[in-house]
């Protein structure tokens, strides 16, 4: 019987609609039984990575070359979580993804990525070379789900002239002596007709609360990733101190407004323009300062706890293989080459050569690979770097050896939102630290409990 046109349109539409909603039907056993030792397929798709600088480009070129005839396709740009998870759910994921390490626990718990223990074994990935803290962050349920890449840690950065004029040194603002920080901040901060014109000390909230809490003796999350510790008195006290630094300078809004007006990545940055006394900051900013304001009166030290020992809160990135990856063998080989010592060394050589050509100091690269870090420092970082860059390099490597991470957990986004929102409520004057962190504790623990329960239910 001849079907009328309207019915054909409706039928076609229904078919398309059903196809469009066919999510979540991917076989659960995709994660099982991957033979990483098998020959790789002929295509590799990568999501979440960019080849924006020589450190990325050199390693990428090596990894592609090592794959031989495999057709490698890179979708440049930061990982779009929604796009990634939708691709996994629809059974058409990229073969390998580049993600933040703190996302790995959530991806692993939801079955979006597969364990890499077999990959490590089949491809002889030297996991001993990776930093323990970085590996811990990509280990969930005693299985490795990611190959660590970059590492980010904090060091103390300061304007030596401002410190000297106020009678302080960088050791006074390195975190070990809170009273000294407070005194230095108040002495350096300047007000110009009701407007803050020099920030004494920027405690870098909300992002560095984990660092301040750790120096007070507490981590925000228990080692097993199950219990939030946000309302612990040590955390409350740490937040009170860090917020108090802003309050003494007219409050966080005044500090934020002023720092937002600064040319953070340019020659007129806060240190070069004498607008900031000191702050803890991630190590990559050393390179920025070295490049845009090499003659600024800078001073560096590690960030230190009350005992004077260096301490840093490490974050970073990792390679992971999605469930349903069509070419996990090539993905594993690619991740291995990207993160192996020789690749990092080759990339660092390229950067060191570039810096030398530009008359700048090569200050090193921090990776999740301890062996690579050591060789880069020994073989490429100049041992006779001029000051203050020699101090910056020492501080960076010292902090890197003392870094801690928060453990992998299935509710990282909710946990992070809970504590960051709490800090923001305090900074915006809506709540006191104890009240804000009590609320955050409740929100975070509730999210953790639900996520762990769901994972346990799925696992059983």
């Amino acid at each position: 019987m001849r079907r009328s046109l309207p019915s054909t349109v409706v039928a076609a539409t229904a078919a398309l609609a059903l196809a469009a909603c066919a999510q979540g039907t991917q076989a659960e056993d995709d994660a099982e039984g991957v033979d990483f030792a098998a020959d790789p397929g002929d295509r590799l798709s990568i999501m979440g990575f960019g080849t924006g600088d020589e450190i990325a480009q050199v390693r990428y070129d090596r990894a592609v070359e090592a794959l031989g005839d495999v057709d490698v396709r890179l979708a440049e740009g930061e990982l779009d979580i929604q796009a990634f998870l939708s691709a996994v759910a629809s059974g058409n994921p990229p073969d390998v993804v580049y993600a933040n390490r703190d996302q790995i626990g959530t991806f692993a718990s939801r079955g979006a990525i597969i364990p890499l223990d077999e990959c490590v074994e089949a491809h002889d990935v030297d996991v001993d070379a990776y930093r323990d803290a970085a590996l811990a962050q990509v280990t969930f349920d005693d299985q490795v789900f990611g190959i660590p890449e970059f590492n980010q840690i904090q060091v103390t950065m300061a304007n030596a002239d401002l410190l000297e004029a106020a009678g302080f040194t960088v050791e006074d603002v390195n975190g070990s002596d809170r009273e000294a920080i407070q005194a230095a901040s108040e002495a350096i901060a300047q007000d110009d007709g009701g407007r803050l014109s020099v920030i004494g000390y920027d405690s870098k909230l909300p992002e560095f609360l984990p660092l301040w809490a750790k120096t007070a003796g507490k981590e925000l999350l228990s080692q097993d990733g199950r219990t939030a510790q946000l309302d612990d008195p040590d955390v409350v006290e740490a937040l009170e101190f860090a917020v108090g630094i802003y309050d003494a300078q007219g409050g966080f809004p005044a500090v934020k407004t002023f720092r937002d007006s600064a040319d953070f990545f340019g020659a007129g940055n806060q240190f070069a323009s004498g607008a900031l006394g000191a702050m803890p900051m991630e190590q990559w900013y050393i390179n920025v300062l070295n490049e845009v304001s090499p003659d600024a009166p800078l001073a560096f030290d590690a960030f230190r706890g009350p005992d004077g020992e260096a301490i840093a809160y490490a974050t970073g990135s990792a390679w992971a293989i999605p469930r349903g990856s069509a070419n996990p063998q090539a993905a594993c080989a690619f991740a291995k080459t990207m993160t192996e010592t020789e690749s990092w060394l080759a990339a660092a050589e390229a950067r060191a050569a570039d810096r030398e050509q530009d008359g700048l100091v090569f200050t090193g690269v921090l990776t999740g690979n301890e062996e690579a870090d050591q060789r880069i420092r020994d073989e490429l970082v100049p041992s006779d770097a001029p000051q203050p860059w020699a101090d910056a390099i020492d501080a960076m490597y010292e902090a890197n050896d003392a870094a801690f991470t928060l453990p992998a957990n299935p509710a990282d986004a909710e946990f992070e939102t809970a504590w960051q929102d709490a800090v923001n409520r305090v900074l915006n004057g809506q709540q006191e630290p104890a009240e804000a962190l009590a609320q955050a504790q409740e929100e975070a623990q509730s999210a953790l409990d639900a996520a762990w329960a769901k994972w346990e239910e799925d696992a059983s």
Partner: protein
């Protein structure tokens, strides 16, 4: 009383059977359907189906990766007790109340000015419309620069008049006014719509009003506004809906990559909360329920506006 039954009213003629369409009419209909079928398919697959599917998702626990699990009205119950839903709704309502009248009044004022501009109107029309081409993300960044409490251009200008401007971007009380003001960046599109309506007002009405001695204000109030009330109503409704859906500028200024950790509850608009729940925390079922609540709110507000418009809006040719 007459014995004779009243003669029944003439029975209506039985409705004639609908005539079958002629073959040529059917061919025309089918051809028409073929021509619009791409749109029909697109609408059904990419609009109607997602809308219906989101209604189903709102009754599930769904994290994108695993199959949705039916949870009944749990998401709606959670919404009722979620303080952030109340906060986000309240923020959105406040913003709408500030932004819509401001936006419409400024659009109208600019359109009235342009209407007087004579030959240079074309240039100014283009000039007013160009900012509309700016991506909303850039407008969010622009907000942070222009409205910086210490060194922003807005406060610099206020300072010239001896006014100590507020902390637009960090003070909770000023965040929404700041966002409402920056929304004027794209007022050009509404100006063009109102200008077109102004150009349609018959000149003889103004002439008659002038003859009757009406001044500028009187002519505007009694001739111009009634005659363009349809366009004004359209701009108001569309802008109200847009205000309820405020997202990009506020997100990029207060929650996006440039502010990955700093945020301010005063900028937590409803769609931002929906986005964070759905796309950052992967509570897609809950986010779908949130979307349906927003749909109901917008529908109610629009319905109220439609009812009110019956008394205030005049459409040309309408008999009252």
């Amino acid at each position: 009383m007459t014995s004779a039954a009243a003669a029944p009213a003439a029975a209506p003629a039985p409705p004639s059977r609908r005539r079958r369409a002629s073959p040529s009419a059917r061919r025309e209909r089918n051809a028409g359907l073929r021509f619009i079928s791409p749109w029909i398919v697109g609408f059904l697959v990419f609009t109607a189906w997602p809308i219906l599917y989101s209604a189903y998702l709102s009754l599930t626990d769904y994290d994108v990766l695993t199959d949705p699990t039916f949870v009944g009205t749990e998401n709606y119950e959670r919404m009722a007790t979620d303080p952030k839903v109340r906060l986000a709704l309240w923020n959105t309502l406040q913003y709408t109340i500030i932004q819509v009248p401001l936006y419409v009044v400024v659009a109208l004022a600019l359109a009235l000015l342009l209407n007087q501009a004579g030959r240079s109107a074309g240039f100014f029309r283009t000039a007013f419309f160009i900012p509309k081409m700016t991506p909303p993300v850039a407008v969010g960044v622009l907000l942070l620069l222009l409205f910086n409490g210490q060194y922003g251009l807005v406060n610099e200008v206020l300072g010239v008049f001896g006014i100590d401007g507020p902390s637009w971007t960090t003070d909770a009380a000023w965040i929404k006014p700041g966002l409402a003001l920056i929304s004027l960046w794209s007022v050009g599109s509404s100006v063009i719509i109102l200008l077109a309506a102004l150009r349609d007002v018959p000149a003889e009405l103004y002439d008659a009003a002038r003859v009757d001695g009406a001044g500028w204000w009187r002519r505007t109030r009694t001739v111009t506004l009634p005659m363009i009330s349809g366009a004004l109503f359209f701009v108001t409704v569309v802008n109200t809906i847009a205000a309820f859906q405020m997202f990009t500028e506020a997100y990029s200024a207060y929650f996006g990559a440039g502010n990955s950790t700093y945020s301010n509850d005063a900028a937590l608009f409803y769609v931002i909360y929906l986005f964070r729940e759905g796309f950052e925390q992967l509570h897609m079922g809950y986010a779908s329920a949130l979307a349906w609540l927003l749909f109901v709110v917008i529908m109610l507000v629009t319905a109220v506006q439609l009812v009110v418009s019956r008394r205030l809006v005049y459409y040309e040719g309408e008999q009252r």
